[in-house]
């Protein structure tokens, strides 16, 4: 998805993992994904740089659709669609 398209996405669930280091955001994502239905969108807020590599790889393995990343000043917003 392009940045413009991502900006229009509204997540069904947002999980705020800012202020936690590896593997905090990953564990938060794992927990949150259980709370949403297949096809719904999860947004993860993370201030951990490594998360930007970790979440796409995690999505590959779990077969979720990774939609992309929006950068904010001090954190990133990561979007994915549950498989």
């Amino acid at each position: 998805m392009t940045t413009e398209e991502l900006k229009k996405v509204t997540a069904n669930h947002i999980v705020d993992a800012r202020g936690t280091a590896c593997p905090g955001p990953l564990l938060a994502a794992k927990k949150a994904i259980g709370d949403i239905e297949s096809g719904e969108i999860l947004e993860i807020l993370s201030s951990d740089e490594g998360t930007k590599h970790d979440i796409p790889r995690w999505c590959e393995k779990m077969e979720h659709d990774f939609l992309g990343i929006l950068e904010e000043d001090s954190y990133s917003r990561l979007f994915l669609k549950k498989a």
Partner: protein
């Protein structure tokens, strides 16, 4: 002809059965070192693996067992050497030291400060999370006995067993990932 096909199907079924019983999405890790940095690495990998939907089995042996001691628990009936070991080895995860740059405890204190600053979960948190996520901790009975530790002085952890090397090998042989730390 049809019996030949039937036989082939049977053979395939057997092979598929073996594959299914083969490697699982599982991580088996030998946790051998009792150093703060290495235990921390082990716990980060273990909890991360759960997020990857892997079953996680940790086999704590030798020096690592010290990190599982509960500082609040005291057991009686130890002989002199066991008591000596008990005094000389760290009593619990908050007493273990860095493998490098400990500098009489200064390095360890500094790393703990840095961990807080960088929002890295403490060992207390890591063990709590691991317990909630179902990470299994197996303690090697032989090294526990060797060091004079007793099962009663270990921490309260929801998925803890005392076992031998065969349990580790059985777990490891069906795990996709095996590590030694």
């Amino acid at each position: 002809m049809s019996t030949e096909i039937e036989n082939q199907i049977l053979e395939l079924q057997k092979k598929v059965g073996k594959l299914e019983k083969g490697t699982k999405d599982q991580l088996s890790m030998v946790v051998f070192s009792g150093d703060l940095d290495k235990i921390l690495a082990a716990m980060i990998i273990a909890t991360g693996a759960v997020a990857y939907d892997m079953k996680v089995k940790l086999f704590f042996t030798f020096w690592a067992i010290s990190s599982l001691r509960d500082p609040k628990k005291n057991v009686s009936g130890k002989n002199f050497i066991s008591k000596m070991f008990g005094v000389m080895l760290p009593k619990g995860r908050n007493k273990i030291k860095l493998s490098k740059m400990n500098m009489g405890g200064m390095g360890t204190a500094m790393i703990k400060g840095l961990m807080k600053k960088h929002n890295v979960a403490s060992l207390d948190d890591m063990f709590k999370i691991a317990g909630e996520l179902g990470v299994e901790i197996n303690i090697c009975e032989m090294s526990m006995n060797l060091m004079g530790f007793k099962a009663e002085e270990m921490i309260d952890y929801p998925h803890m067993n005392i076992c031998g090397v065969a349990t580790f090998l059985a777990d490891a042989s069906e795990s996709k990932v095996q590590l030694f730390i």
